[in-house]
């Protein structure tokens, strides 16, 4: 699946981006900070506010996920950032600038907006859809055309093939990609995404999430992402804001911290069962270290292999092929039974994991393997080591312990910061947001 995606050649986006940048006005590529101060929304005729006094600091270049049950006000909160919904009271600052009172149309042109089911205009081609915001902000025709191609490249669609198509000629996943491309077209520092992957099938969603992570790695936008899917939040978020009714922030922290140290029952209820399992998704095999295993290559003389078998503690060796790829597991008795023929002896290695695999994938492979271990491969499938049940267990325990300590420390830090802030406010020398940033 992953191989099927035509990735743009590495660095291409960057270089063409550079040409675009020289040809025109100043473009701010990386993200901006967002501060929400006492943001409140009341609807007439309803005594309880829909969003009640939200305070939040979002750092530049951070991907923050708002997650919470439906009707908790997460979308309303997000829409107040670009003022699709006007806040009743409170303040929004983007990059320090108070945008609560400025012309909303001007504001929205600087904030990318991607929604569920893509929101593409069916009567415009893909290229016209993407070109909308640059056209409104008065870019030259040539620059827009270049930008459209660049954007399609960036989201992994072939410009030549897709530019002239109409949205209904695309699959759901492709539409969503174009939606993201449109949101990014004018290179806004901030991107709002409202359940953008909610309407596509699980496989495509997974794929789009990976692409978003890759994009964010390249672009460093400030992204506010709304979802009700906690697993999506964990996968994507640098930080996650778990919201409860009226958009009260139950917890605003890194995914690790929320998984290991949920602030209250609401959060742990939302995290759901299997927090430890979910934690496995956040760590890669490369982070836990692999163990060595006695190996031999099929070119080694039989005598050497025998010696290794006898010398090893596991009475088993991993046989590698000529390219150093894992080939067979060989037990002590196997060679005897096969009458000294390497071709017939041992059992084939049927599963390997790469160093980039998540611990969850590794665990799955280990569980399926009847001896409870799986080879780890590096570039071009070369053998790098082995993970087994024991290493996995140990590293998971260590991870969880570490997370717990981190979370406790973090808590302390937060409390200290808060105390400091209160102190400063009392002394009247406050400029709290800058302090935090």
């Amino acid at each position: 699946m992953a191989e099927a995606a035509p990735r743009p050649p590495e660095g291409r986006a960057e270089t063409s981006g550079a040409t675009v940048r020289t040809s025109g006005a100043t473009i701010q590529t990386s993200g901006a900070t967002i501060q929400l101060e006492n943001l409140t929304k009341r609807y007439p005729g309803n005594p309880a506010p829909a969003v009640d006094c939200v305070n939040m600091d979002i750092k530049a270049g951070e991907l923050v996920v708002f997650v919470g049950p439906s009707g908790c006000g997460k979308t309303t909160t997000m829409k107040m950032i670009n003022r699709l919904i006007e806040p009743t009271s409170g303040r929004i600052r983007i990059d320090g600038e108070d945008v609560t009172g400025i012309d909303p149309v001007r504001l929205r042109r600087k904030i990318g907006y991607a929604i569920q089911a893509s929101g593409l205009f069916p009567h415009m081609t893909v290229a016209q859809n993407i070109a909308l915001v640059p056209r409104m902000t008065g870019w030259s025709k040539r620059r827009i055309a270049e930008r459209v191609e660049e954007m399609l490249d960036l989201v992994g669609l072939d410009p030549g093939e897709f530019q002239g198509r109409y949205p209904r000629q695309l699959s759901g996943g492709q539409q969503q990609r174009v939606g993201v491309a449109r949101a990014l077209a004018a290179d806004p520092p901030v991107l709002l995404m409202d359940e953008p992957f909610g309407a596509v099938d699980p496989i495509t969603r997974d794929h789009l999430q990976d692409e978003l992570i890759r994009l964010q790695h390249e672009l460093h936008k400030t992204i506010v992402f709304v979802t009700h899917d906690f697993d999506e939040a964990i996968k994507l978020g640098d930080r996650i804001a778990v919201l409860r009714e009226r958009s009260h922030i139950a917890q605003f922290d890194t995914p690790e911290a929320i998984l290991t140290n949920p602030a209250d029952d609401f959060v742990s209820g939302f995290v759901g069962a299997g927090a430890a399992l979910k934690r496995l998704n956040l760590t890669r095999v490369r982070d836990v270290g692999v163990v060595d295993f006695p190996t031999a290559t099929i070119d080694d003389p039989l005598q050497t292999i025998f010696e290794r078998l006898r010398a090893g503690t596991t009475n088993e060796v991993l046989l590698l092929d000529r390219h150093h790829r894992p080939y067979k597991w060989l037990r002590r008795g196997d060679l005897m039974r096969a009458k000294g023929s390497l071709v017939r002896a041992g059992t084939l290695v049927h599963d390997t994991v790469t160093r980039d695999a998540t611990l969850r994938d590794a665990l799955e492979a280990v569980l399926i393997d009847n001896a409870g271990r799986v080879p780890v491969t590096g570039r071009r499938g070369r053998y790098e080591g082995v993970v087994d049940m024991e290493t996995l267990m140990n590293s998971v325990h260590e991870l969880l312990e570490e997370d717990r300590l981190d979370a406790v420390e973090h808590q302390h830090l937060l409390e200290e910061q808060r105390a400091q802030q209160v102190l400063e406010e009392q002394e009247g020398t406050t400029d709290a947001p800058e302090e935090l940033a």
């Binding site: 699946m1 205009f121 000629q169 996943g173």
Partner: protein, 276 residues
Amino acid sequence: MRPPSPSPEQLGPPEAEEAEDGAAPVPAPRPRRRVTWQKLTVLPAFLLALLLATWLWFRGADLDSIARNSIADGNVWLRLRQHVVLTVVSTFFVLVIAIPLGILLTRRRVRPAAPAVIAVANVGQATPAIGLLALLVIWLGIGMRAALVGMVVYAVLPVLANTIAGLRAIDPTLVEAARGIGMSAVGVLRRVELPLAVPLILAGVRTALVLNVGTATLAYFGGGGGLGDLIASGITNQRMPVLVLGSVLTVALALLVDWLASLAELLLRPRGLGAS
């Protein structure tokens, strides 16, 4: 690129090319022809045949002085021209009144007024056209003006209702998306709402046009001229050929106008909205 597909009807939803990311061969956007040759030729051929047959029959018919009198001095041609003018002018005013009114009535602030306005337009259409015309003649005097006003009142409803329906049928998330990416209110209307409402608005216009061809025959009773003159004199003088001539011309004109409007519908419909 593929050769142009012979039948635009096949342009339904593209084959579900779910192989995410276009790895699978997907149909390239084909140059599409929405107007088929059948569409272009069948009706004109039929009309031609109809008119030819009428003409042949009319030539062979036995006309006395009264009948000849009512078609003398290019009277037929004059009435036909009057009829076309009545239709075109009244439709023009219908569009100028109904479309902006429809847009206005879908704006958020004015929306509550929509039912009332529609009710008024409904009254206009529910009134028997001839009665309406009689009242207008009393008010405005005999002539083309009264006829035109009557026709406009009569035909506003379909265009107004369709404009409102077309604008309301637009997925609200699309409008919000348009606002969300920074379009001004006018921009949303011009770039998103109107183009998406075009198919329904055009359908309303087509209805109004055909209605107007029909009601224009009544203009005669208010002294507005038109093909109604031939029909009426055919009836009052009991001259069958004159009556038939007037009726056939009216029918042919109505069919022609409907055909032209259907072509306009096909050509003006925004691309990408799916083949109808």
